[in-house]
Symmetry: C2
Subunit: 345 residues, 2 copies
Amino acid sequence: MLETLRWKNDQLEMIDQRVLPNQFNYLSFHSAIEVAEAIRSMVVRGAPAIGCAAAYGIALEAKKNSHLDKPDFLAALEEGWQILSKSRPTAVNLFWALKRMRQAWNTVSATYSYQIAHALLEEAHRILQEDICNNRKMGALGAELLKDGAHVLTYCNAGALATAGHGTALGVIRSAIWAGKRISVISAETRPFLQGARLTAWELNQDQIPVTLITDNMIGHLISKGEVDAIIVGADRVAANGDVANKIGTYMVAVLAKRHNIPFYVASPCSTFDLDILEGNLIPIEERPIEEIANLDEYQWSLGKIKMRHFAFDVTPRDLITAIITEKGIIHQLTQENIFKLIAQ
Amino acid sequence: MLETLRWKNDQLEMIDQRVLPNQFNYLSFHSAIEVAEAIRSMVVRGAPAIGCAAAYGIALEAKKNSHLDKPDFLAALEEGWQILSKSRPTAVNLFWALKRMRQAWNTVSATYSYQIAHALLEEAHRILQEDICNNRKMGALGAELLKDGAHVLTYCNAGALATAGHGTALGVIRSAIWAGKRISVISAETRPFLQGARLTAWELNQDQIPVTLITDNMIGHLISKGEVDAIIVGADRVAANGDVANKIGTYMVAVLAKRHNIPFYVASPCSTFDLDILEGNLIPIEERPIEEIANLDEYQWSLGKIKMRHFAFDVTPRDLITAIITEKGIIHQLTQENIFKLIAQ
């Protein structure tokens, strides 16, 4: 199985997702600030993977400072926590994981810093393992929704690379294939970071799952030609009413799906739900550097003096979503009541 | 005024649109086969500009062979005509211009080849001049539709660079600005050839028209945030019922416009109407090399072994189009009857 993040030689290693598929290599991380920078610069991306990375960021900071007195140690943790919390604003798994890590250090009964550090590393390992388990559960549940022979369109990368393993949206596709269904995938390239072209196509190709790559603006044409049977995407934050923030462009895919009566599924673990946010338009939407729009590495195709906007996410209202697949079950009718019933328990 | 094509030193010169905005230079052409290759490789693109280029392709072929006997001369013209007709399949202006050139050589009363060649060059000049005039007329008519202060989204490049000058969609915007309206433009980059990022943004910037560049998948977000007041695009072929083939992705923009009740205008000269094609799904849609999806120049970001599709156009059904602006008038209600009444007369 592809390990997006791994604990090795007493440090965190993560696949450098900025250079895939041309290069496949792991980078090492030793502190909260290093992990925060990796999240910000998209060495690691995808809501669940960001959550796992942040958890290890705290664990690394604890390990690094475990020789300190408890007050100094806790101050260092607090500082690392603050830095990590400011790395990216939209994916709620970051805050969910940080909250869990804080709970861990608040509740552990330990005399010495190194004991707390040990407990925090255990908690990070647990978060990673739970993520994989949850993806497997979502996969098994969601696989039922995909028909044998289906052409399934996915957007961005909600795969193993966006999680600790198996994936959310791609996890459902993987599980459907394990269940014996013949599924072929259409991957939209997902500008500007090209997660679909660089990550999803690569990841599926590694598993020998049939994949066809298109540009984002071809989705409407393919749907109108009847070449898409279902759509499945991940999520960066789900509001209490079922609105979903996900990679920029998801909204347009959902609107097209609605016009053509194609099921539009979201695969999202409970950790991606934010029950404190009542509806999607209250979710903070990250704006990223405009250089990411105008360049690819050294290659620049737009004049520097042109004004640009770079929104990293958009919001898909619940009325466009056929169902949300979670590890606890599938929510077909997206109401606040149904969501609370499943998620808050 | 920006001259996309020009006749200079007894040869055709065209701006090399593959290298804008990083380089601005003209290339020279001397035969039908050279012009056909320029159309195929997108040195020149945009339906009206392709029509003008094809007309000059015939004129160049005539000039090159004007020393031949009339039968050999006409055979050379025929061969050039066939080569040009196979350069690209979707934009109907190519076939419209070629038909006009054939009519010109069929109807001219001339004894010698060089006289026919002269008449064909005159006809090419007329096609170019008419294109500019028609764009100015469309501009003046269409300008009425844009409100002072409007944020207008355009897609691909339907500007001076897509025509002999002034532009179709951007011509309407230019004319509105000349009429004293404050218009700001949102340009979607338009993958994979990046006509929006490389051509529209550059062209508007040259004219100091405010422009903001986004990726194609941000259109839905901006529309949903109320940041788009109107949409205007060009066309590659309009069917007899009012369905419009245009750059891939246009359909998705029109679907989003409909959902948010934003006017969606098409600016299209009569030469882009194909009254022989009853509806949009009968329009041939070009598929182009997949390398254009996976690379930008030398820079490659997708694995070569991944399957890809590259559709160059899609079809927007007439029910999504608020009005089509032509040089003869604006068609608000898109019916075959209204279209024939205006265009066929």
